[in-house]
């Protein structure tokens, strides 16, 4: 990468959100978690979503991850209208287009790394041979080529999150959606995971990072702040420290 300090011209629009809202009914009262968010995310962006708790950050993440549909507004994923999709169509979108990385890793405890990573491919209907090949490749890509037969309880926290990242990558999704990916890790291991995400970004992946930590968000090239269910700010960010580390 010749000059990664300057934001690169990004690719086509992957996520196109216009004025979406989300209301929850909590007993008697209606909680308006999102009050009209408009957002465009392009291919090969590295975006951080920040905001205090109650800002609508988690709700927005659920929308972006197609885990939930908005109450109103327009949401297009690669040109397809997500807002109108039923459960199974959403499942298919999640399977093919989105790679999730969770704070708590969410690995199947009794399955090996390989089987954990194979899971999205099973749901995609891939044959066992190609499945194993792809999953092994993904594990090798995150530096766990020698841990494919280990179960989660035989791995360190950082290694578990790497398995989860391999699982997110394995179906070659349009976006990787990482929700507080370092939240359960010590800061050194957290940095390793962030370096891995940086590496993925450089290899052309689109990454959306949801976090409340400024240090973590600082790895992204663009940061949006949410407050009270609306976008408070949306800015290109640039952190020289990170760039020197990554470039070395």
């Amino acid at each position: 990468m010749m000059n990664s300090n300057v934001p690169r011209p990004a690719g086509p629009v992957v996520i196109d959100i216009e004025n979406i809202t989300k209301d929850y009914v909590m007993g008697e009262e209606i909680v308006r978690a999102l009050r009209g968010v408009t957002l465009q995310i392009r291919r090969n962006e590295y975006l951080a979503v920040m905001g205090p708790s109650g800002s609508g950050k988690s709700t927005l993440m659920n929308m972006l991850g197609c885990l939930d549909t908005p109450t109103s507004g327009r949401y297009e994923f690669n040109g397809r209208n997500v807002a109108e999709m039923d459960d199974d169509e959403l499942a298919a979108i999640r399977n093919r287009e989105i790679g999730f990385v969770f704070q708590t890793f969410n690995l199947l405890p009794r399955a090996t790394s390989l089987r954990n990573v194979e899971l999205p491919l099973i749901y995609a209907g891939m044959d066992p041979g190609s499945r194993e090949e792809r999953a092994t490749q993904a594990l090798t890509d995150v530096g766990l080529g020698d841990r494919i037969q280990h179960k989660p309880n035989e791995l360190s926290g950082g290694q578990r999150q790497r398995v989860a990242i391999a699982r997110a990558l394995v179906n070659n999704p349009s976006i990787i959606l990482a929700d507080e990916p370092t939240g359960n890790l010590d800061s050194r291991t957290g940095e390793e995971i962030m370096a891995l995400l940086e590496d993925l970004y450089r290899r052309g992946h689109t990454i959306i990072l949801v976090t409340h930590e400024r240090d973590i968000a600082a790895h992204a090239r663009r940061t949006i702040h949410l407050r009270d269910g609306v976008v408070e700010s949306d800015e290109q960010t640039f952190v020289p420290r990170m760039e020197t580390v990554a470039a070395s």
Partner: protein, 416 residues
């Protein structure tokens, strides 16, 4: 389709892993199904045992033999109409045979007289009570299903001359001659000596009600000489073509009316019986017993199924977060539904398999301990109980699996 197979395989692996990691719980839950399957299977073997015994009992009558008697072989509500009928006489057989010979294209081949009483049979100091003594002719062997363990049936000459010879059943032979051969020994029946010329192989019981082996068969003239008083006679008529049984029955009724000299307006004063009629009388009774038995034992399987349902609900609850993760990774509702259905089915299959193994050994043991107990373990039963296990698993797993498949991914992911 392929995807479905991969998901099936994956679900199966998870189910096995799940059972392994919760071994105690799985075994306890499966125990309910084990008990249910043992109960249902044993009932099944008993029912098919009864069926076999029933068919065997029925076979004794032969499906090509008509029985002319005073009473019909069915329950009658107007017994008084039958009670005063004239007795059937053994001599009718001769008249019938003559008329049959004179009829062109007769559907009947031969009429055989039989007459019977119950008496004690003695040999030395041993005595057997309530033995069925039957007098008949040499041709009786045509209609019977006997096999001889030793010796032979009496021949035409012995039959006509009224020789004091007899053929004895298994029980009689066993009781009177436990260690020696009865052939050519003389047994005492009604104070008269009869030389044993043959013993019949074991016939078992009739519907488990009475033994078919406590029997002595002798030539009719000898029988009539000593036992005519209070004897009941019956004429057996063999049919040429058993597919034309109704025609044969009509023909025989006509002949009997001639023998009895009945005017055209008079009702029959005899009954013509056959195996099929008896069978259709007894079949509903047998079937009712079978249904009731299966229903009652089925209840225990039902209790087992509730256990499975309960544990599957627990499993869904415990793994809510896992369900959320799977949904996030692209599992559809159907996939989750399938996964939990397979888990409950796998538990039921495990229970079914263990239960079947138990049932097999129990059948084996019962068969060894009580050889006469009607029990029949069959391949069909294995298949049936496996099908029952799978169906139980599917039915009991459906409600929890459905709940799991409907979980909202956001809520499920957040569940702790």
């Amino acid at each position: 389709m392929k995807r479905f197979l991969y998901e099936l395989e994956e679900s199966w692996k998870i189910a096995v892993a799940q059972m392994r990691s919760n071994l105690t719980r799985s075994i306890l839950t499966a125990l309910g199904v084990v008990i249910g399957i043992v109960a249902v299977t044993l009932m099944g073997t008993a029912i098919s045992g009864i069926q076999v015994g029933f068919d065997k009992s029925m076979a004794i009558f032969g499906d090509d033999v008509l029985y002319v008697g005073q009473w019909p072989w069915r329950q009658v509500n107007d017994w008084w109409n039958y009670r005063d009928r004239k007795k059937i006489k053994a001599e009718y057989a001769d008249s019938l045979n003559r008329m049959m010979a004179a009829t062109a294209n007769s559907n009947l081949t031969i009429a055989i007289p039989t007459s019977s009483v119950t008496r004690n049979v003695k040999y030395g100091d041993s005595e057997v009570g309530n033995v069925f003594i039957r007098g008949t002719v040499a041709d009786y062997i045509i209609t019977s299903t006997f096999d001889f363990k030793e010796g032979r049936f009496f021949n035409e000459i012995e039959s006509r001359s009224g020789a004091q010879v007899c053929v004895i059943g298994y029980d009689v032979a066993n009781a009177l001659f436990p260690s020696t051969s009865p052939i050519d020994k003389s047994v005492m029946i009604g104070g008269q000596p009869f030389r044993v010329i043959g013993t019949i192989t074991r016939q078992g019981t009739f519907l488990g009600l009475f033994s078919l082996d406590a029997i002595v068969v002798m030539p009719l003239p000898a029988f009539q000489k000593y036992f005519t008083a209070k004897s009941e006679a019956e004429v057996l008529v063999k049919v040429k073509d058993k597919t034309k049984l109704p025609e044969a029955k009509d023909e025989l009724a006509g002949l009997m009316r001639r023998v009895r000299g009945l005017p055209p307006e008079a009702k029959d004063d005899f009954s013509i019986n056959e195996q099929q009629a008896l069978k259709s009388t007894l079949d509903p009774i047998k079937n009712t017993i079978a249904m009731a038995g299966l229903f009652i034992t089925g209840l225990s399987l039902f209790v087992g199924a509730i256990g499975i349902m309960n544990i599957t609900f627990v499993s869904v609850k415990e793994r809510t977060k896992e369900i959320g993760t799977r949904k996030a990774l692209g599992a559809r509702r159907r996939t989750i539904l399938l996964q939990f259905l397979i888990e409950s089915t796998a538990l039921c299959l495990l229970g079914g398999f263990i239960g079947l193994t138990f049932a097999y050994f129990m059948c084996f043991g019962i068969g060894k301990a009580f050889p006469s107990f009607p029990i029949q373990f069959s391949f069909g039963l294995v298949v049936a109980s496996m099908i029952v296990s799978v169906v139980t698993g599917l039915v009991s797993g459906f409600a929890p699996a459905w709940t799991a498949s409907r979980l909202d991914p956001v809520t499920a992911l957040r569940y702790e």
